[in-house]
Each structure stands twice: as structure tokens, then as C-alpha cells.
Symmetry: C2
Subunit: 407 residues, 2 copies
């Protein structure tokens, strides 16, 4: 029953059918974030409501037609399913429709594509999207167990494979095949931490040197502690409205120009070419086609760096570097602040933090701040187009979204 075709053989586009071609699908008119961290004293409800109220306030409290919630595993982390309804309720938005969307670590990006599609279709005029994950209720072994549920439970997790271990296999393969040195990953980690020092919403606001990275404890060889995104709680929210309505709501909307989503086999063992992130490549193809532009046109990127080597592979899948050569983007300074294409000015998953279901929503919120010129000391040089790449599982699911400054 497994997918057996090679990437080249697949002539099947799976592209969305919206005849958009460069037009705007929807707009972001409000955003809210809370600092990622261990919020021991706040429940998942409080985190979500805080971010949601911020976003609504930011948009001038418009009427909301539906509440979308992105979250991976509130059942496992907090004993709470029916999460979208809970959040709609405590935002005083009932009887508005409420729906929770899950796609592992890509939940945020996938939920955003769903919300944008719903607005583009005219089903809803205005949607509040809240991404939230509260991980601090559990002890670390239980967190590891919950995260591993994004693998194949029957053929991977059952045998003791953790998410870190599955990624370790792929990282080893990447290092061996392309002869990439540890130091290259260390440079990425150091850059992420450096960026995060300026991000008020980041979890790890301290610098890390390559040496510290190299000497950090082994988690699942070759993955070390400082390869990993931290465990943390977070919530971010967006108010998404129709292109038509956007300028009536705020002066500076951010337009969504393209959305793409794609999958790959859940297990890396089933992939023809495990070192190529087919999900990211496919989703980007769809998003750029819809937006009527290419990666060349993008000024700033937020990209899913669950581990530095995943960030490298994602950059390669986007066509930013040849395969195995993403480290050169670091060497050249291309992806640093002020570089040709700054990546993860927020600090990325590595240092901003990775509250799973919220992460994609943070990315969109951070890019929105960049596009409207309100990113403070993180601000890039007046970017016009931004790209977000949200990845779930071991890149078994991906959502790619093209955003544009509204002027």
C-alpha cells in the first residue's frame, strides 16, 4: 500500500485549483504573540486567549465569523480535546464555528492554509486563527513520548524510536553523503541564538558559540542538545480577512499571495530519496505558482528548523542551494541579518522556541511584523515579499505560504 513511485515519475500535481495567479487570497489584519517559554502558571486556555485577544485588539476588534485553532496534541499534553470550542468560548466568540486542525509540527502552517482558503472562497469573511501548544504540564520523558506520536506509532514509536532518534538517522545520512561538518550546523545554531537575543517573544535569548554547540551533550548521535528546539509553551494568533475588506480594517494589511501544502511518507524508511524534502518542494511549487513569483523574489524567510540539518534540507528543497551545499549560505553570510536573504530573524524554532501547534502561526506573525516594518530590532531592510515554511513530522507534511506587503 506504500507510495512506490519516484519523485520524477509522479506527474500528478496535487495543486490547488484556485485560479489566482498573483492576486491576493486573503489578508492578515491583526496579530498577537506571547513570549515562548515555560508558563507554569498559565493553562492552555489562558495562553490561547491572551494571544487571541491581542490579535483581535490589533485588528480593531472586528466581527469574527469562525475560530480556527492549530494544535498538535493538547489531548496528550493537557487532557484537553474539543480545544477549538474551548478557545472560542473563552474568547466570548460562541456561537461562531470553531475547528481544530492538526498536522503535527506543521499544524500552524496547515491551519493557516485552511483559514486562507476558507476566506478566499467566501465561506467566511473573517477568521481568528489561534495556534497554541502547552508542553510544560508533562515531565520530559512524557513530552518525548507525546512528540514521538508524530512518527508512525505502529512501526516506529512502538519500537522505541523517538522523534530525535528518527531525525538522527537522517542527519547522519546527510552528513555522510554530503561530507558536511558539525561546525556548519553549529554556525546555524549560533546565528539562530544571536537573532533571538533581539526577539522579545523568543524563549532562548542568549548567544551560543560554535564551541558550546560542539561540546553540548549527545541526545541521539549525531544530534546534540544544542541541535534541538527547546520544549516550551506558546500561543500566537492572526486575524485573517478577505482581500476586499482588509484595507477597511487596517491601514497596513499583509496579503497572502500563495498557499501550498504537500505530504511525504510518514516514515523516512519508505522514501526513495530521504535526503530530499519532497513535501517542502511540492508545497513551495504550489505556493509560488499561485503567487505568480519565485524564491528569487522573496526578501525574508521563516523556516522550520526543528534541527539545523532540517533547515539545511529545507533551504535546498526551496532551491536556495544545491543539495548538500546549504552550509554555504551561512559561510557567505547570505541568510544573516542584512544578508541577501535573511532566514529566521526571529531565532527560528531553535531559539525563538517551538510550541508545536503554534509555531507556524508565530512564523506568519513574525513575517507580518517584518512586512509592515514593525519588527523592531529584528527588522529587515523594508522587505516586500516573505516566505514561511512549516514542516510536520520528519518532513512528512509541509505548508508553504507567500506573504506580501500591502502597498
Amino acid at each position: 500500500m506504500q507510495y512506490m513511485g519516484s519523485i520524477e515519475e509522479s506527474s500528478y500535481s496535487h495543486q490547488t485549483k484556485v485560479d489566482n495567479l498573483g492576486k491576493s487570497l486573503a489578508a492578515i489584519v491583526g496579530l498577537g504573540m506571547i513570549k515562548v517559554g515555560m508558563h507554569w502558571s498559565k493553562s492552555i486556555r489562558e495562553l490561547a486567549v491572551e494571544a487571541g485577544l491581542k490579535a483581535l485588539d490589533d485588528a480593531g476588534n472586528p466581527d469574527v465569523d469562525a475560530v480556527y485553532v492549530s494544535n498538535m496534541a493538547s489531548g496528550l499534553f493537557c487532557d484537553q480535546e474539543n480545544l477549538a470550542d474551548l478557545i472560542a468560548d473563552y474568547l466570548a466568540l460562541t456561537p461562531a464555528p470553531a475547528v481544530k486542525i492538526e498536522a503535527a509540527c506543521a499544524s500552524g502552517g496547515v491551519a493557516l492554509t485552511q483559514a486562507v482558503a476558507a476566506v478566499a472562497s467566501g465561506v467566511y469573511d473573517t477568521i481568528l486563527l489561534v495556534g497554541v501548544e502547552k508542553m510544560s504540564e508533562l515531565v520530559s520523558t512524557e513530552v518525548t513520548n507525546a512528540i514521538a506520536c508524530c512518527l508512525d506509532a505502529e512501526y516506529e514509536k512502538f519500537y522505541g524510536v523517538t522523534f530525535q532518534a528518527a531525525n538522527a538517522l537522517l542527519m547522519r545520512m546527510y552528513m555522510e553523503k554530503y561530507r558536511v561538518k558539525r561546525e556548519a550546523f553549529g554556525e546555524f545554531v549560533s546565528l539562530m541564538h544571536q537573532n533571538a537575543t533581539k526577539n522579545p517573544y523568543a524563549q532562548l535569548r542568549f548567544p551560543v558559540t560554535v564551541e558550546q554547540y560542539l561540546n553540548s551533550p549527545v541526545i541521539a548521535d549525531p544530534i546534540r542538545l544544542l541541535d534541538c528546539a527547546p520544549v516550551g509553551d506558546g500561543a500566537a494568533a492572526l486575524v485573517i480577512t478577505s482581500t476586499k475588506k482588509a484595507k477597511k480594517v487596517v491601514d497596513n494589511p499583509v496579503f497572502i499571495k500563495g498557499i501550498g501544502q504537500a505530504t511525504d511518507t510518514i516514515s523516512i524508511k519508505d522514501r526513495v530519496d530521504p535526503l530530499f524534502l519532497r513535501s517542502v518542494s511540492k508545497a513551495a511549487e504550489t505556493a509560488f505558482q499561485m503567487a505568480g513569483c519565485s524564491i528569487e523574489d522573496v526578501d525574508v524567510v521563516e523556516l522550520h528548523d526543528s534541527f539545523p540539518f532540517v533547515a539545511f534540507m529545507a533551504m535546498e528543497a526551496l532551491g536556495l542551494a544545491e543539495r548538500g551545499k546549504a552550509y554555504k549560505l551561512l559561510e557567505n553570510g547570505d541568510i544573516k541579518p542584512g544578508g541577501k536573504l535573511p532566514i529566521n530573524l526571529s531565532g527560528g524554532l531553535k531559539a525563538r522556541g517551538h510550541p508545536i501547534g503554534a509555531t507556524g502561526v508565530y512564523q506568519a506573525a513574525e513575517l507580518s511584523l517584518q512586512l509592515i516594518g514593525e519588527a523592531g530590532s529584528l527588522q529587515a531592510d523594508s522587505p516586500a515579499k516573505a516566505l514561511m515554511v512549516s514542516i510536520g513530522g520528519v518532513a512528512s507534511n509541509a505548508a508553504v505560504i507567500v506573504l506580501e506587503r500591502g502597498d
Copy 2:
């Protein structure tokens, strides 16, 4: 932060903005179900794939643009998140986009509204929707615990309130306020079991008398064992395509004419009028407005009877009976096979079974069989319009959908 307005005060429509008015939004062109039951030897993957393949085969194996999965708690039941990707993978449908939708017991109905909206909007031409839940991996106390996650975890579940206990409070209130006798619920249960004896996909295919109902053990007074839907595994799938394409795919499509979704407070304690299912009423209002018809035009109904009194309150919210008078629909024989408006010819949640995230999809599949005249010995007298009511939590979430025979 709670919703404090009365139903009457709320002038806020939360209606979807699709200017449809009686036109078709999308069509069901294929369906697949497996018998609900304790499938000890099959994993959640196998259940989902079996139903998915049946539906694809039924539709003549069309190209699929996206996979939607409805499921409440595979993380708690099966250690499996990232479920949509898993199912897309094992149906050999990667790199198609895959998304899981959760809205407690209403997951199936809500996912169907999401899929229909995506097709109506042109985002996707053809979607495979798979509803699945595997509950038999856990022992019964753990199942009770998992189900209780659809309540408010912090203010209800934490204090030991189970889903059954929360419903018991409401059932007691309903019985006291309207002076409804136990026997009335027994009549409903007896009818559901009678209907299920003819349904090859039903879990409980045996008759139950009112006397057996009255003498069944107390679970949470006044709820007795035979009030409860059984624990079971199940999967059902639908192929949903655009109205335009439907007749090219199959001769007998079923058209979706209206979709509605709405919420209520997650906890019954916060409701102005706990005995009125505002979520169901609101969702029905939206769906009928979109479909350009009313409950009067409906020929057959599948309705969420998590407990008989919930079915009664849903019938009242739909306007089929005055408040507290739903039992009269049973007395008159209106909702029996051959009656004015047959309800739950499948046997309902009570006897067909209630594999949580799959239930709404079963409802749509069963109604589709009714509309194309292939419901076998369950068949109603050539129904033209059908209604499904999918409810989540203690009616904190509801989806209502109007289906029509395509001729």
C-alpha cells in the same frame, strides 16, 4: 470572558458567506464503511485505509487532490498524531495535502463542512474524507478518561467529571423540567436497536425492549447502560467532488446543498438556557438558509444521539417538536421507518455505534445510500432530501448538513 448574552440578544449571525441559496456546494460520489465493532486485530491505519479504498473504488478511483481526516483523539487512543499524513501515505496518496480536523464527537460533521467548503471554493476539485476512531486499544477506564477530554479539562474533567456524568446532569434537568418519563427514552433506544438489526455496518445488531432498558445498570444516574452509545472502532470515507465534475464521475451523485456549523459554551454550567441546543439550532439555521429549504422539506435524518435525551433536544432544536415534547414524535410513530420523518434508520450512535471521529462520516455515508436508493432493507421511501446533525462535546459544537438526491 464567558459568553453572557442570551440567545435572543445575539444579533450576530456567524453565517457563512457563500452566496449559494439552493445551489449545490459539492457532491458525494463515493463512499465506504466498515462494520463498527471491536476490531482487535486491526490498527487505526488499517481501518482508515479499508474505508478509504472502498470509497475510492466506489467513485471509480478518481484523482484525489487532498485527504481530510476526521478524528477526535488518536493520540490518546493509539499514540498516533500526524494521522492525516499516515492515512494519505498508506492510501498511496502522498504528496497530496493531508489535514486532520478535530471537533470532539462532531469531528466528522465539521470535517465534512470543511471539505465541502474547500471544494466549493475551488481550492480542491476532489477530496477524500476519512473519518476514523479506534477505541479498543485502551481499557474501559482509559476510554472514559479519553472521552472526558472533550469537556473542560481544567474546570470539569480535573474534578472527576466524566462525559457521562456531565450528560447525566443535563438529562436529569430535562426529565424534571418537562416531566418526561424514562419509558420515552426506552422507546427511542428500542427503536434504534430495531433499526440496527437491518444495518450490516451496525455494532449492536440485536433488539432491546423498553423493559430491558429500564432494568439496565446505572452508569451515572439517571443515565443507564442502555442510554449509552457503545465503545467501538470504525471508519467511514467519502469522495467529495465539485458539482460540475460530479456527473462525470458517477451517475448518481449526492449533492451537498447546505452546511452549517456553530458552537456553544464548552461547559453546560455557563449556558443561559442549558436545555436548548443553541449550537444545533444555529448550525441548522445556516445550513437551511444556504440550501434554500427548511426542515419541512427533509425526508430522512441522521442525528447525533450520544444519549436519547440529546436526540430529543436535537429534534427540538431543529423545530421538529416543541421543547420537552420530542417524545411525542416517538408516540406518533413519526420517526420510525415508514413514518413521516424517519430518524436514524442506521440505528444511530446508540446501535450503529459511535466511533467518535468517524460518526459524522458514517451519517453522511448512510444518508447518501438512502438518497441513491441503495440502503437495502433500511431503505426509506425514495427520499429526495436528507439532513445530518453531528454534535460534539455536550453539544458545545455542531455541524448540520443538507444533502439532496441528484436527479
